[in-house]
């Protein structure tokens, strides 16, 4: 017969909890650091797709601040937000037509296409998690 006795003290539990808190905080910091470049990469891919007839919409793209809540981390990105531009042909702000251009799959664009933001965001599901995991693994290795 083999018998094992594990002794868990209050102090060791406190040390474990503290270590887990530290690890979680570092993982969170890494994720927060990683989101702006991820957002920029998505917007770079989006720029390849967005219609560019006037240039106003294409150049109104932005990557905003990282948004965090207790259990979510994200980054705001899009078109026509803080970087809004006036279309020189129509006088309209890009923010007033960005959504319609994005959604209209029936429209022809010689230099771009609809779903210019949704497509790179959908494709990002194939690489964002791996990118974050790679950084998080680095953090876990040094702790």
């Amino acid at each position: 017969m083999i018998q094992l006795t594990a002794v868990v003290t209050k102090a060791s539990l406190k040390r474990l909890a503290a270590k887990m808190e530290t690890t979680l905080a570092r993982v969170r910091t890494v994720a927060i650091e990683e989101f702006p470049p991820v957002g920029k990469e998505i917007m770079d891919q989006s720029f390849e797709l967005v219609p560019k007839s006037s240039g106003a919409l294409a150049h109104s793209g932005y990557v905003g601040e990282v948004v965090t809540t207790y259990n979510h981390i994200g980054v705001k990105l899009g078109y026509g937000g803080p970087n809004d531009k006036v279309n020189p042909y129509t006088g309209r702000l890009a923010s007033t037509y960005a959504w319609a251009v994005h959604e209209d799959l029936n429209a022809y664009h010689p230099d771009g296409q609809a779903k210019y933001l949704e497509i790179p965001i959908s494709l990002s599901s194939l690489w964002v998690a791996e990118r974050l995991m790679s950084r998080i693994r680095d953090v876990l290795r040094v702790i």
Binding site: E103, D104, L105, N106, A114, K115, E118, S122, S125, L126
Partner: protein, 132 residues
């Protein structure tokens, strides 16, 4: 197994909800032609494949046009309610095509065109098998 857009068109037509009558008459694949005024276009755009199965999470956009904004709104919601059924997501579109369908957005006005016709748009995701 046919083309997903065609299967969705078949399903909407077969539902007999009065929004459309027949494929290529007033409901079309990958185009919303200029006539008739009351038309529906079913488009597919980029979805995500599953590397472990023959399933894919496919993306469908449906445009609904009517001569009045209210008629377009009503027709859009009929199609939306037909495809997005929270307690019965698994829908047999045809005898050989089943899909797990979920709306990505509620119906919204896409635009009003030069002749005053209103176009609504709906986006849905369909987890289903590949086309032939």
């Amino acid at each position: 197994m046919a083309i997903l857009c065609d299967d969705i068109i078949t399903f909407i037509v077969a539902s007999g909800n009065g929004v459309v009558t027949a494929a290529d008459t007033d409901i079309f694949r990958n185009v919303l032609p200029d006539s008739p005024d009351a038309s529906v276009g079913v488009f597919e755009y980029l979805g995500i494949t599953d590397e472990h199965s023959f399933l894919g999470n496919r993306s469908i956009s449906i445009q609904i046009r009517r001569t009045s904004a209210e008629a377009a709104r009503v027709a859009a919601w009929v199609i939306y309610n037909l495809l997005d059924v929270p307690r019965a997501r698994e829908i047999w579109l045809t005898a050989t095509r089943v899909g797990i369908i979920k709306a990505r957005s509620t119906p919204a006005i896409l635009r009003t065109d030069d002749t005053g016709r209103t176009i609504y748009v709906i986006n849905v995701s369909v987890v289903t098998t590949r086309d032939e």
